[in-house]
Every structure is written in structure tokens, then in C-alpha cells.
């Protein structure tokens, strides 16, 4: 079975620019997660989708971050405008169901560097 796909794998932008990341979850997985992993830290949940709808976005900095999951499959995460502190790896994960949420499969991540 194909895993979670993410693109691009690497991105370098200047501060105040915009950037978007794409995620394609495992086929049939209704739940999708975006995590931010800052160097030296563990991943932190940004947003969780169940099909098209948002389940939890309490830790998403909504003034600059946005995410959507049209048609309940692929998802994009956008940052506009980017700040230096947004430099991190952005991980996408998916799971078959909402509960239990621990059966999550992670993608390879997108490494963002903001200069």
C-alpha cells in the first residue's frame, strides 16, 4: 500500500513570502493531520481534518497559517506571510478513523527554511 505522500520535500523562502505544502494521505484514510516539527523538538499538531471538516485547529496560528482539505482527500497547508520562526519540518499524517487516533501513518515531511 502506498504511504502518505508530501511535496515538496524541501523549500527555501525569504521571510514575508508565501509557501504551500501538499499532502496526499493513504487511500481510504478519512482523517488527516498536519504537524510542525521545529529542530530539536517533537512534532506538534497544527490541524486535524475528518474528511472535509476541521476537527481540531486549536494550535494553528490562524493569522498566517491556513489549511484546507477539498473533497476529503488531498490537503494543502499554507503560510502567508512566513516568519523566521516558521522554519521547521511540516509532517502530514493520516489515519483510517478519528478514534483511536494513534494509528497514524506519517509522510516524509517538507523541510521549510525561512531566511
Amino acid at each position: 500500500e502506498a504511504g502518505v505522500a508530501q511535496s515538496p520535500r524541501y523549500k527555501i523562502i525569504e521571510k514575508r513570502q508565501s509557501v504551500a505544502f501538499w499532502c496526499n494521505p493513504i487511500s481510504g484514510h478519512a482523517t488527516l493531520y498536519w504537524y510542525q516539527q521545529i529542530l530539536g523538538q517533537g512534532p506538534k499538531l497544527l490541524i486535524q481534518f475528518q474528511n472535509n471538516g476541521v476537527v481540531d485547529d486549536s494550535q494553528l496560528p490562524k493569522d498566517r497559517f491556513s489549511a484546507e482539505r477539498l473533497k476529503g482527500v488531498d490537503s494543502t497547508l499554507k503560510i502567508q506571510p512566513a516568519k523566521l520562526e516558521d522554519s521547521a519540518v511540516y509532517l502530514c499524517a493520516s489515519s483510517l478513523v478519528v478514534r483511536p487516533s494513534y494509528e497514524q501513518y506519517f509522510g516524509p515531511g517538507t523541510r521549510l527554511t525561512v531566511t
Partner: protein, 114 residues
């Protein structure tokens, strides 16, 4: 709030030897899950082992086993017969029962030396 602490930023082990990675956590929950995830240099997180808090028996998965001490809020990972492919960052994580969010520690970078 839940916190997970990994006090060993880096560790190394000789190939074929045994190594133990430490993890402590803090929670007021009684029902929860604990995990060890492996993140190789390619950065894809892989679940190594899971422990349900209500189970007294320690989880094992082939060469990987845990020492779960609920009262002490300790959850260590033992890797036996270490292999070069075990070189990775290891994250300890917590999720409360019915929750949707992992709480990860800061990770331990393990290097297996040939």
C-alpha cells in the same frame, strides 16, 4: 496539560549490544497510551511500539521492549541486538484515551556503531 521528557539527547551503542532509552511523562489522566516512534534520517516517522496504560504487562515487538512504570510515570525503550538500521531519532509520545493529539518528547538521537 501533558508533558513528555526525554533526558538523553544523544546515545550510541555498539552493534549487537543492548541500549535503553529513557522517557518520563506527566499527566493527571488515568487512561492513556504511550508510544515510541522512530524517525530515520529520511524523516518518515514509524511506530515502534505502543503501550496501553491499563495493561500491566510490558509491550514487546521483536527486539524492542518497554519498561512501563505507571506509578513512576516512566516508559523506557530497550533495544536488544542493536542493528545499524536502528540508527535514528527516537521519540516518546503520549496520547490520552479518547484524545486526538500526540504529545511528543524532544527525542533521543541513537547511533549504532559498527
Amino acid at each position: 496539560a501533558q508533558t513528555v521528557t526525554q533526558s538523553q539527547p544523544e546515545m550510541s551503542v555498539q552493534e549487537a549490544e543492548t541500549v535503553t532509552l529513557s522517557c518520563t511523562y506527566d499527566t493527571s489522566e488515568n487512561n492513556y497510551y504511550l508510544f515510541w516512534y522512530k524517525q530515520p534520517p529520511s524523516r518518515q516517522m514509524i511506530l515502534v511500539i505502543r503501550q496501553e496504560a491499563y495493561k500491566q504487562q510490558n509491550a514487546t515487538e521483536n527486539r524492542f521492549s518497554v519498561n512501563f512504570q505507571k506509578a513512576a510515570k516512566s516508559f523506557s525503550l530497550k533495544i536488544s541486538d542493536s542493528q545499524l538500521g536502528d540508527t535514528a531519532m527516537y521519540f516518546c509520545a503520549f496520547m490520552k484515551q479518547g484524545g486526538n493529539q500526540f504529545y511528543f518528547g524532544t527525542g533521543t538521537s541513537l547511533t549504532v556503531i559498527p
